[in-house]
Each structure stands twice: as C-alpha cells, then as structure tokens.
C-alpha cells in the first residue's frame, strides 16, 4: 500500500514541531563518517552481574541488531539539525543537564573538540533515546549490550581471551582524552561490533534497573552491597559498568558517556505498520 519511496525510510514521520520538518533519517550508509550500519547479534544468554533476590536464572537474549559503531558527532549533528528541541540551547534541563553537548562549539557546530567521526558524548539518556527513535531504532537493553560486549576478538566468550581484558583494563587506566578518537579505528569484536570497549561508556535502555539487592535501590550505590551479590567477583569491568549505570540519572551527561542503537532482528508487530506520513 505504501509508496516505494517511503518504504525505504521505515519510520518516516512528518513533524511540525517548532516549524521544522523533522523528517526521516537517511537510509543506512548515507551519513558522513561512520554509517548507521548494524550487525546481527545471535540469540544467546546473558548472566547478570548481580544475583537477583528473586530469581537466579541466566537471561535469554533474543537475536537483535546492534550498531557497529557508537553514534558519532556527525550523525548526532543531523539529528539536532532536524530536531531543534534537542539542540544545546533549546533542550529542557529535565532531559539533559547543563553539560549537554558541552564539547560542541555551538548548537549546530560540533567544532574541533567533537570531530565528525568521534563518538558523541555529553548526551543524556533521554537524548540518546530520542536519537534512536529518530533513526528508527532503539537503545539496547543491558542484557543485549552485555551480550554483545561479552565476546572476545576472535571467539564468543571474551573472558577466555585475555587480550580483550588487557585492552579493557588499559582503557580504564588511561585518562579520558580531551578529544575522543575516531570510531573507525576501533577493533571489531567477534560479532563485528566496534569500540564497544575502549572508546566511551554507553547508555542502555534500562540503565535505571533496580539492582539485585531486594529492591532497595540505595544499597546498590555502595560497593559492599553491590559486590556482595556479584556472581563473578573477577568481572571487574562488569562491576564498573554496573556501578556507573547505578550512579546515573536520566538527564546526566558526561565526557565519556555516549551510546549506540539497536533494533529488533524481526521487526516487532506494529513497528512496520506505522502510518505513512501525510504529505
């Protein structure tokens, strides 16, 4: 029923907000620098870092698609060009704190501190989510992200390959650079995902999960309470990620926190049946 030109755009919605046409994203591959290219992550299992108070089974993770690269400044620029409410000077403090896009030179000018192919940082969870929606995608869940991040360079289990952990800890030890490196330099892991470790921390959809301490969120903020539930106390990197997520509020932005997008492998019911825009 839909015209062919619209099919290619997936979620082409017309928006009249603030007098701008907030149209559909370009098809994958058309953006400068890194593309919105995605790789399939096969079905698998995620073992949460913490034991849960009410269930200890590993979580099955359905197959899904994940961006090869973290979202870059170049890609994010196109988003804010089309969506004025997410420009630095326009955004509501409720959705992004005062350091939102702090390293950009201006509203529509990433500038020298934010090169087009470097990962965008200083973005909030709300902003990351809005970008993902605009791109016709979504944020990965913790389970999906950890599933994709758990493999090594050459095999499905990163913990069996010491090289990945060495690189990971070396990254932790390095001070954050003033200017993030290009995503294109990042080495691919077994699934073909690049820079999931070693570039920036990344937002996940359910960053605000309650930790496995019986529902008392505050106990998750203390090392002893968090680590006492750890399944694998040797998983220092997992602990760091959990600690970071549990410390964040949804409008927080930092110099080392970016994101990448995911998508269901089989489009969810209704996702492709959105109404075509009235043009």
């Amino acid at each position: 029923m839909k015209p062919a030109s619209i099919l290619g755009y997936g979620v082409a919605w017309l928006c009249l907000g603030a007098g701008a046409i907030c149209g559909a994203p370009q098809p994958a591959g058309a953006s400068p620098g890194s593309s919105g290219e995605m790789v399939p992550i096969p079905e698998g299992v995620y073992t949460p870092f913490s034991r849960s108070a009410r269930g200890d089974a590993p979580v099955r993770v359905a197959a899904f698609l994940l961006d090869v690269y973290p979202v870059t400044n170049g890609q994010y620029l196109r988003f804010v060009q089309e969506c004025p409410k997410w420009r630095r000077s326009e955004v509501s403090r409720l959705f992004a704190d005062s350091t939102y896009l702090q390293d950009w030179a201006g509203d529509l000018e990433p500038g020298r501190s934010a090169p087009p192919t470097s990962p965008v940082v200083h973005v909030s969870w709300f902003a990351a989510r809005a970008y993902a929606r605009w791109a016709g995608k979504r944020l990965p869940t913790t389970a999906e992200w950890e599933r994709a991040a758990a493999c090594g360079y050459s095999g499905p289990d990163g913990r069996s390959g010491p090289q990945l952990n060495r690189d990971l800890y070396a990254w932790f030890a390095r001070p954050a650079p003033d200017v993030q490196p290009s995503v294109t330099a990042a080495r691919a892991n077994f699934f073909g995902v690049r820079g999931i470790h070693g570039l920036v921390w990344e937002w996940v959809e359910d960053f605000n999960a309650a930790l496995g301490a019986g529902g008392d969120a505050d106990s998750g903020l203390f090392c002893a309470a968090g680590s006492s539930n750890a399944r694998d106390t040797g998983d220092y990197a997992g602990f760091m990620r959990q600690a970071l997520r549990s410390s964040l509020k949804a409008n927080n932005t930092t110099s080392t926190l970016g994101f990448r997008c995911a998508r269901d492998a089989v489009p969810a019911a209704g996702r492709e049946s959105r109404p075509a825009p009235t043009l």
Partner: protein
C-alpha cells in the same frame, strides 16, 4: 472527573490524536509546560476506565504520584495506604484539589480490569487516577522520577519506593524516598503547594 476533563481540554489535548506525530519533536500543548515539568513527557497512558490519558492533563492541581504494581505483596500496598492517609488528613478544601495517581510497572498483568478491581478493593475514590502505559512510557516516567525498577524472572518487580508530589505545573515539589518517613512531611509539602 469533570475537573480532569476540563484540565485536559485546557492543556490542548482534545483532538490531538489526529495530528501527525513525530518521535523526536513532540508537538507542544497549547500552552507549553515549564522546562522543569514532567508533563513534557509525551507518553500516553490509559486509565482503569479504558480512557486515553495524557499525563499533562493533571496540570493545574497538586498530584501525589506513586509507581506500583497491583500484585505487589510488600511495599506497594503500604504506600497506597499512606496515600489514603494523606488524603484523609488533608483539610477538606485542599483534599478536593489533590489528585492521587498510581502508575503500574506491570501493564501486561495490570489490565484495565485489574486496575478497576484494585480501585474497588482499596476504596479509591474519584480523586484517584490509575494508569497503565506502554513499556517505553513507563521507563521514561520512572527515569524522570528517579525510580529504579526491574522485572524479575518470577514476574514481580523490584523497584525503589518513591512517592512524588508534583505541583500544579507538574514539577517535582517533594519526594519521599523509602517507607520509613511517615506522612507528616509530604502532607506539609502538599499543603505548601496546594495554595
């Protein structure tokens, strides 16, 4: 619920469904919400009568809001009891202005009927609004309120216990965190924001 309908109309929500929608630049209500208002949240909810409910329709009155799930056997019933206590303790004039809102974490099991049953069982009067939404909207609302939650493998929800007071603009005026504080402070906060 007449006041509610009026508020909804005033907020410009009537007839909005026909407008084109966009996932990034949400159309604004007739009068924009304040930059600190959680009513900027664009999620749509459904109440226990099956009616679509934009959360911005709560504008114009103090709101005491809790996120819960109906099958909870621990903290949620206590919080609802506290909310009922707050309601009965308020002076009559103020009581008539305050709306009590429950938003479920569990839209899969908390169907319209389950919420309607919950209203009956807990004797929640017309000042109460019971809402269910989609997972997206629930996660965004929780994020705005600073509520953490996880669906456990057994189908229950672990969640932080945060009772929120919103002022008439939908800005967070006070939050009670945990269950040990009693209702004195939040009652005082309601009175301070009820003028």
């Amino acid at each position: 619920m007449t006041a509610m309908s009026l508020a909804a109309a005033a907020a410009g929500y009537s007839g909005q469904a026909a407008k084109p929608s966009c996932p990034c630049c949400k159309e604004e209500a007739a009068a924009p919400f304040s930059k600190e208002s959680i009513y900027q949240l664009d999620a749509r909810f459904t109440d226990d009568a099956g009616r679509t409910f934009a959360i911005g329709a709560l504008r114009g009155r103090p709101v005491v809001l809790d996120m819960f799930f109906a099958s909870c056997g621990s903290a949620c019933p206590i919080t609802v009891t506290d909310m009922l206590s707050i309601q009965s303790r308020l002076p009559a004039a103020l009581r008539a202005r305050v709306t009590f809102v429950l938003v479920t974490f569990d839209p899969a099991r908390d169907t319209r009927q389950v919420l309607a049953d919950y209203r009956r069982q807990r004797l929640l009067d017309g000042q109460w609004v019971l809402l269910r939404g989609d997972d997206d909207g629930i996660r965004e609302l929780a994020a705005l309120l600073g509520v953490r939650y996880t669906r456990e493998p057994d189908g229950t929800f672990s969640h932080s216990n945060v009772l929120t007071l919103l002022n008439d603009k939908g800005e967070i005026a006070y939050q009670r965190v945990g269950l040990n504080e009693g209702i004195g402070r939040i009652c005082a906060a309601v009175a301070a924001n009820g003028g």
